[in-house]
Symmetry: C2
Subunit: 208 residues, 2 copies
């Protein structure tokens, strides 16, 4: 049966939820029912949080990191190497990387990762904006041409899928892609490493 049976506002709420990535029809209905059941205060907190995020949170239109300024301080900083773009999944990952103080290039925040089964296609993340940076140097940080992409996605199935997709696009444009090294985490014990970690460590062994 269609949603025609519902009051118009319920139908609109179901549709607003169903438009989100990975949210199917049934889940959207379940979320809408939850809102119906919630106290007005609880439900309106969701509405207010959405409004506040759109009002208060700015993102950098080049790298999509969350920042008060556009372009963000990193994209504008002349001491950063704008020819190298480190691609991460989420704003948190950028913060982790910055904390080390070891990276001097710029970033691109995908705000997600590819997960076709979970309903996350390329249009669900900021891959389009990344490709624009590669294609048009004027749209990259400080107008520089990108020469290397470092893939800093999570080392799991969806992260690797996303990394391969981006590496292919970069390759078609003659741009080099690298990914963060895998191996034993420093300070860990070999006896507790799983076979995938040991496999990565063997494959990536380096001369001393």
């Amino acid at each position: 049966m269609s949603n025609a049976a519902y009051p118009d506002s319920v139908r609109r709420l179901i549709e607003a939820f169903a438009a989100m990535p990975g949210i199917g029809r049934r889940t959207a209905e379940r979320l809408a029912f939850h809102v119906l059941r919630q106290s007005p205060e609880e439900a309106l907190e969701l509405a207010r949080a959405v409004q506040d995020v759109k009002k208060q949170v700015k993102h950098c239109s080049i790298c999509w990191s969350l920042a008060d300024a556009d372009p963000c301080p990193i994209c504008k900083d002349p001491r950063r190497d704008a020819t190298t773009v480190l691609v991460v999944e989420q704003p948190k990952d950028l913060l982790v990387m910055e904390k080390t103080g070891l990276y001097r290039g710029v970033y691109h925040v995908l705000l997600g990762r590819l997960d076709p089964l979970g309903g996350m296609g390329p249009e669900s993340i900021t891959i389009d904006a990344l490709l624009v940076r590669l294609d048009q140097p004027a749209r990259n940080s400080r107008g520089e041409a990108v020469t290397e992409i470092i893939l800093g996605l999570n080392p799991d199935l969806e992260g690797d899928t996303t990394a391969l997709w981006i590496a292919r696009e970069a390759g078609e444009r003659g741009i080099r892609s690298t990914r963060l090294a895998r191996g034993l985490p420093s300070g860990s014990q070999l006896e507790f490493a799983n076979p995938a970690v040991i496999g990565d460590a063997l494959k990536g062994r380096t001369s001393l």
Copy 2:
């Protein structure tokens, strides 16, 4: 890493999503990132839909059906038998049932169903309100004591789980539970029926 790294409004939005049934931390972050990525118009449509639902949609405080009046016309109708409560999952199911014109009792709309693996526990649906109706006749439709519960949930795993849970609670209160019959759908062809349907049809066979 905690959400402390996020602007306050992003953190609040993640928490508002994570408070919804079946939405884990990672999904909540994914939805919040989606809102960050959306155009303001798209994102604010979600906020407005939530506000409109809470403002415009009323539900019956007895049976939780969507209605302009409270109690709803069915709960108030003296021609309906308020001692029999048909429990359904969603408002749509009530409409389907009413369209037949065959049922003369009252309803209870759960606004969901139990699905422990999916994060839907008894507190996620309106089971509490149903138990109040069973325990306190004054809180049931037209103040009548409930003598029978008809379980009209979807005939699948979660529906059956929910039905059994409610039947047990009713049994402890000395209230009879029945469930809708299962068998061959009228107008169908035996050759296309699956084994579960045929099993139900055999088990529930009736004398002619």
